[in-house]
């Protein structure tokens, strides 16, 4: 395999999984709040990374930060209740899984 192919196939995947270039949360915070502590070129990088790449993990961080600091709360969607017996089912499933793993 050539290096270029290796980069395209494997490094791209690893890059996001391992969050190789994800900006620190403080920087994302400054980005969200539009504070001056982030230089314009770095801001452009963050905008690309979050908005266009897009990095799923940083998108979630940014949405969380927006929710915490800026955005008014959206109307609450109707949430279905947990299916009856969820606790019992999850506990049983976990027990069975652990048993099959010999735990």
């Amino acid at each position: 395999m050539e290096w270029e192919e290796f980069f395209a196939l494997e490094i791209g995947r690893l890059w996001l999984e391992e969050r190789v270039s994800c900006p620190h949360r403080n920087l994302l915070q400054a980005f969200v709040e539009g504070r001056g502590s982030i230089e314009p070129a770095a801001r452009e990088f963050v905008a690309f990374h979050v908005g266009e790449l897009p990095c799923p993990a940083c998108r979630v961080e940014v949405e969380d930060l927006k929710g915490a600091s800026l955005r008014p709360s959206p109307p609450l969607p109707r949430v279905p209740p947990p299916p009856a017996g969820t606790a019992k089912r999850l506990l049983t499933e976990t027990q069975l899984r652990e048993r099959s793993r010999g735990k």
Binding site: E18, F45, A57, K88, T94
Partner: protein, 221 residues
């Protein structure tokens, strides 16, 4: 109005069903809304909410009591959301416009669907922790160098090329580079630098036998 009373970690850890039942009824709507904030698909929200609680039950033995249950639970929810979005990652901006449908990215997607290419099998099955660590270490170092040098745009170009799979001819326009050759140059230098950093970690390149033949094969584009 008082907020939810934190479930008793001891009872949860001993898999006490009534305590889990209470915790699930109490936190289900909040986890569901949190997931829904990121993923506007009701079925997916329900699945991920279930999956969050499944993860919470499975991992409760390792629950660190310096955090509260809410932090523990939402940490799991967040990871579930990220994993979901990662799998669903949309196509990047420009390759969709390729009239021949032969963009690098589309090609890669097709290869992903076909799954087991020899390289993926090799990476997936034979990759040791050492190999992954070496790669991640080299990439982190590369990013750090670019960051410290203030080369933010170059870093974004690298992401566009290698992570989003966008072609040189689209990248140079998007980032206002001089021309396509400039994009190819950034790609070439990135490959070379990561290769060097990888060699520092694995001088004989024994962790990457599949890349031996390609050492001389790198191209500017």
């Amino acid at each position: 109005m008082t907020g939810p009373v934190d479930p008793d970690p001891g009872k949860l850890q001993s898999r006490d069903e009534p305590e889990w039942d209470r915790a699930i009824r109490e936190y289900w709507p909040r986890v569901f809304r949190y997931v829904g904030k990121h993923i506007p698909d009701r079925d997916a929200c329900e699945d991920l909410t279930q999956s969050t609680f499944r993860g919470a039950v499975e991992g409760i033995g390792r629950f660190d009591r310096k955090y509260n249950f809410e932090q523990y639970l939402f940490g799991i929810a967040k990871n579930r959301v990220i994993d979901f979005l990662r799998r669903k990652r949309p196509l990047p901006w420009s390759p969709m416009t390729d009239p021949e449908g032969s963009s690098v990215f589309a090609g890669l997607e097709a290869r992903k669907r076909d799954e087991e290419t020899p390289s993926r099998v090799l990476i997936g099955r034979e990759t040791t922790d050492r190999r992954r660590r070496a790669l991640v270490g080299a990439l982190r170092r590369f990013v750090q160098e670019e960051w410290e040098a203030g080369q933010y745009r170059r870093l974004a170009v690298v992401e566009a090329l290698f992570v989003a799979g966008v072609r040189n001819k689209d990248v140079w326009k998007r980032f206002g580079l001089k021309d396509e050759v400039a994009a190819a140059g950034i790609k070439f230098r990135a490959i070379r630098r990561v290769r060097e950093l990888l060699r520092e970690r694995d001088p004989g390149m024994s962790l990457f036998p599949d890349l031996h033949a390609g050492v001389g094969g790198e191209r500017a584009d």
